[in-house]
């Protein structure tokens, strides 16, 4: 008896959010009147969901998405996000959004004594696919363009979810050309399964030339089905459409590969610019260069810990912070160790290798051996879509731009500032510079600090791409030397060209040689290249070269 009251109460309470939801146009407006019934249906189903196993849930969700109820959409959305819970003792369905608990059917917020009082109504991949299909069906008439586009794209995966008439209505009502195109593709996919051959061929015609992966998949499946039934005209038509798509994909793949190559080149460039100064300009074989990158990445982590609310800002703040910290450590290393070893490359190599081990272990002792998670701001995630088959990932795009920016600033410092002038003077002719009143010792220290600081900046960028752990520097030290030697020691321009050409070359080799062999081939190539041109791509000429 009591539960009946509760149910009636629940039903009355729903009416309020119902009004709020009414703004969203529903495809099946005609039977809004029956919503009270539908809600109890939704309520019933939600209760059944609590105890169901995954297979039963699948059947339940299939009925759930059919329920014509203003709250269905919200229910589906909450469920697909994994925020749908129930209270264990009275089986009330609640929403758990970042630990803010509200009762689903009333919207009332509650506080929990114990986190374990509620239990999740879990979803798996199959259910999520079903739920997304259902959401797409309900949102195809939404006023929000983004939502409509998302819904249309989801429909590509499950074209059967919408009946022909509603789909036709959606295509006709759609004002945005992009969404309309996607919707007509959905129609095309549906037509492929039509009983009438003409309609099937019309479907092929509609799909021809589209780059959406789902379209390609649908066509491939269609070819297989048509081949099995020996419908030769259709096979020919579909194969022609597929060939057209393949050709376009191949062209896109070339561009994409080039982009991947530039992105890898940008990473190599960032890692190597600092070394281009310490090794290239000063001639110090600095094995601790990778650890400077690592320090920069840990600085990013620390800064992010200080301001967890402002992910994007913290990344910007990290750049000068990492430069300072890595730079200062660099200066300390130069003053403490390397200064005493100038002119003794072997000893420098061993000493800096020792320093790199000390730094690694120090970081491991302070932060622990586990990798640290450096958050990625939202604007770094996702892709920049040129067409459905060619999407450029934002994080790589920013890193390409960033690496060029760092290079440009460094070139400015070297060419346009007094410090840059002194630095170049000391490199070219130390005794002469010294007798001109330049404190060569300090210039050495600052130069090394600059190189290390830039390595620190590289660490900020790399923290967005890869793991931040005590060993991360090791992965970049060989690559950095490779780039600097290949590009030409002591030449920034050479470092840029070297990094980019190695990056692109690696990515061109990778598709047919595999990642492991591609790397080996690169090393072999560089060894052979150095045999031919020992001074790299852009060798310095004149006196500086003789001193090098």
């Amino acid at each position: 008896m009591f539960s009946l009251f509760k149910q009636i109460g629940v039903m009355l309470l729903i009416c309020m959010p119902l009004m709020a939801q009414a703004a969203e146009p529903q495809p099946y407006k005609e039977d809004q009147a029956s919503s009270a019934v539908a809600t109890s249906e939704l309520y019933e189903l939600s209760q059944q969901l609590i105890d169901a196993g995954y297979r039963e849930k699948q059947a339940l969700v299939e009925t759930l998405v059919e329920i014509n109820d203003p709250q269905t959409l919200k229910f589906l959305q909450v469920m697909v996000n994994g925020d749908l819970y129930y209270r264990k003792d009275d089986r009330v369905i609640v929403i758990n959004e970042d630990d803010a608990i509200t009762i689903f059917f009333t919207g009332e917020s509650i506080t929990l004594e114990n986190k374990r009082d509620i239990k999740k109504i879990s979803v798996n991949n199959k259910l999520r696919t079903l739920l997304r299909g259902g959401i797409a069906r309900l949102q195809i008439f939404s006023n929000n363009l983004e939502l409509r586009k998302q819904a249309a794209t989801n429909l590509l995966k499950s074209a059967d979810d919408l009946d022909e008439a509603t789909l036709q209505l959606a295509v006709e009502k759609e004002k945005n050309a992009d969404v309309q195109e996607i919707l007509s593709l959905v129609q095309g996919i549906r037509w492929l399964e039509a009983d009438d051959e003409k309609q099937r061929l019309a479907g092929v015609e509609l799909l021809s030339g589209s780059l959406y992966p789902d379209v390609r998949g649908a066509l491939a499946n269609y070819v297989r089905a048509a081949e099995a039934d020996e419908r030769s005209t259709e096979v020919a038509a579909a194969k022609k459409a597929l060939d057209k798509i393949e050709a376009m994909l191949t062209a896109n793949a070339v561009v994409e590969n080039l982009y991947f190559g530039l992105a890898l080149g940008a990473v190599l460039l960032l890692a190597a610019i600092g070394l281009a100064i310490t090794f290239g300009v000063m001639g110090v074989i600095n094995m601790a260069h990778g650890e400077m990158i690592m320090l920069g990445a840990y600085t990013t982590y620390m800064v992010q810990q200080l301001m967890p609310e402002h992910m994007g800002v913290s990344l910007v703040v990290s750049i000068p912070a990492a430069f300072l910290i890595s730079g200062l450590v660099g200066i300390a290393i130069e003053r403490g160790v390397i200064r005493h070893l100038y002119g003794r490359p072997l000893e420098t190599l061993l000493a800096t290798f020792g320093i790199s081990l000390i730094l690694q272990q120090a970081v491991r002792s302070i932060f622990g051996p586990l990798n640290r998670d450096v958050g990625t701001p939202d604007w770094m995630a996702g892709t920049f879509m040129i067409n459905p088959a060619l999407e450029l990932t934002y994080n790589r795009l920013y890193i390409i731009i960033f690496s060029l920016l760092v290079l440009a600033v460094l070139a400015l410092i070297l060419k346009r500032t007094l410090f840059g002038l002194q630095m170049r003077a000391v490199t070219m002719n130390r005794p002469m510079a010294s007798s001109m009143g330049i404190r060569t010792g300090w210039v050495d220290a600052l130069t090394f600090g600059l190189g290390s600081g830039i390595a620190g900046i590289a660490g900020v960028a790399l923290s967005q791409l890869t793991n931040v752990g005590p060993n991360m520097g090791q992965a970049y030290i060989i690559d950095s030397f490779m780039v600097v030697v290949f590009g030409g020691v002591g030449n920034l321009w050479g470092t840029l060209v070297g990094a980019m050409s190695l990056g692109v070359m690696n990515k061109l080799l990778e598709p047919w040689a595999g990642a492991v062999v591609a790397k080996i081939l690169m090393l072999v190539f560089i060894i052979l290249f150095i045999q031919k041109r020992p001074r790299g791509l852009f060798a310095l000429k004149g006196r500086a070269a003789d001193m090098g």
């Binding site: 991949n125 995966k157 649908a218 991947f260 586990l370 890869t466 492991v516």
Partner: protein, 436 residues
């Protein structure tokens, strides 16, 4: 002159050697009131990220056991060494543990190459080791108990799940380039073909350790998956290379509903402190998940949090394997009444210990466990939601049935076979005989 000095040298070394042995004996006598437990996990280098946790687990178990009054009336004494992710060093440290420290048992190793490096030493000195990590199988040593999963306890059930429940028809086998992924993928490839999967529908890809640039591979997977047939990635990618791999997947917009990734080396530990929102729905196959609901598991998690003094530390499958191995060893020692390796080995077989996931783990005659197999989906909080489990415990198979060279091999360390690689057709033992 030279000859004499050489002779003296030999003599001197003999004397030193003898004193050393004598000293060793006296040490052993002096410390007879403790049982020494060797812990052979990397605490530095690349594998430190995974192995440090296992060292802590063993230490926790020892502390717990000592609170209960120790074993055979003696206290347990941990001997921790650091093989530093350096594979040859694993052999040296094993020798140090067995010959110098005279430990009664070793808990250790993670990667297969480290285990392979330990094997000859532990067999020569007749030590006892518990290996707690899922591995490629094709091995069974008298001196090692394998408490992690064999391929038929992880890889094969996972593929079955994908094939039957998710109707996957196209397969990407991606792995790190070393012995475990290569062997596992060989087994899987032959298994898939035996199930009628076409050569064209299998793509195999290897990457170096610590690979960080996944752009091309992820884009290839995307293309491979865009041909209409449901596609899944079976990942044996090891260590922290997984993080950039999953990041790239998310960045290129591949979600679990389109192309699910099932991983054999990604657990709670690997996901901790990592934004798992874009990964929701990707899968992992293990014998244990922290989210498993059982009293034993709740107690274990609580104990772990208390030991590490950190509420956020997660537990994972190799930890459970360490737990089971340790519990089994203590039971076997109590049963045998001694820590003598041969007697404990005999006592180990048939020992039962409760799983943390509910149910019971049994040690079989092939030194592998019977355990349940679970499939979990990654959740937003970095935990796994168990979406599938085998009906009963699966018995670990040391030699897979899906490779021609090991099809006829079995391992049985009880009489009358007493052999780690017994050929059931030729009725002969291929080496690694017991009691050497």
């Amino acid at each position: 002159m030279k000859k004499i000095s050489l002779k003296t040298l030999v003599k001197a070394s003999q004397i030193i050697g003898m004193t050393a042995i004598a000293a060793g004996v006296s040490i052993a006598n002096a410390e007879d009131d403790t049982i020494k437990v060797g812990v052979l996990h990397s605490l530095s280098g690349t594998m430190a990220i995974s192995e440090t946790t296992l060292k802590d687990t063993v230490l926790m178990m020892i502390e717990e056991q000592n609170k209960k009054g120790g074993l055979l009336g003696k206290q347990l004494e941990p001997v921790v060494v650091d093989p530093a992710s350096n594979w040859p060093l694993f052999a040296e440290k094993t020798r140090e543990l067995l010959a110098k420290e005279d430990v009664d048992v070793i808990f250790g190793c993670w990667t297969s190459v480290s285990r392979k490096s330990v094997l000859p030493v532990i067999e020569e000195l007749n030590g006892l080791m518990f290996y707690p990590v899922q591995y490629e199988g094709e091995e069974s040593s008298y001196n090692v108990f394998y408490t992690g999963a064999a391929p038929n306890q992880q890889a094969i059930p996972a593929v079955d799940y994908l094939m039957n429940d998710l109707e996957v028809e196209r397969w990407v086998l991606a792995g790190t380039d070393y012995v475990y992924p290569r062997t596992t993928n060989k087994i899987l490839e032959s298994y898939l073909k035996s199930k009628g999967v076409d050569e064209k529908d299998i793509m195999i890809n290897y990457t170096p350790f610590g690979h960080s640039d996944w752009q091309t591979i992820v884009s290839d997977v995307k293309k491979f998956g865009g041909e209409g047939k449901k596609t899944a990635v079976v990942s044996t990618i090891n260590g922290d290379a997984n993080v950039p791999f999953y990041k790239e997947l998310a960045n290129q917009g591949i979600n679990a509903e389109d192309i699910p990734v099932v991983a054999f080396s990604v657990g709670e530990e690997e996901l901790s402190g990592f934004d798992t929102k874009p990964l929701v729905g990707h899968l992992a196959a293990w014998n244990y998940f922290q989210s498993a609901e059982s009293e034993e598991n709740d107690a274990f998690i609580e104990q772990w949090h208390a030991f590490t003094k950190d509420e956020n530390r997660v537990t994972n499958d190799p930890m459970e394997a360490t737990y089971i191995g340790f519990e089994m060893w203590t039971k076997a020692v109590e049963k045998a009444g001694t820590t003598d390796v041969d007697k404990v080995e005999a006592a180990m077989i048939g020992i039962e210990v409760p799983n943390l996931t509910g149910g019971t783990a049994v040690m079989n005659e092939n030194h592998h466990l019977s355990k349940p197999v679970l499939i979990g989906e990654i959740q937003e909080d970095g935990q796994f939601e168990i979406v599938w489990a085998t009906d009963a415990e699966v018995k670990g198979d040391a030699w897979t049935d899906f490779l021609p060279e090991s099809k006829n091999l079995i391992s049985d360390w009880t009489s009358p076979v007493n052999c780690g690689n017994y050929n059931t057709v030729t009725k002969s033992c291929g080496g690694a005989v017991a009691g050497e």
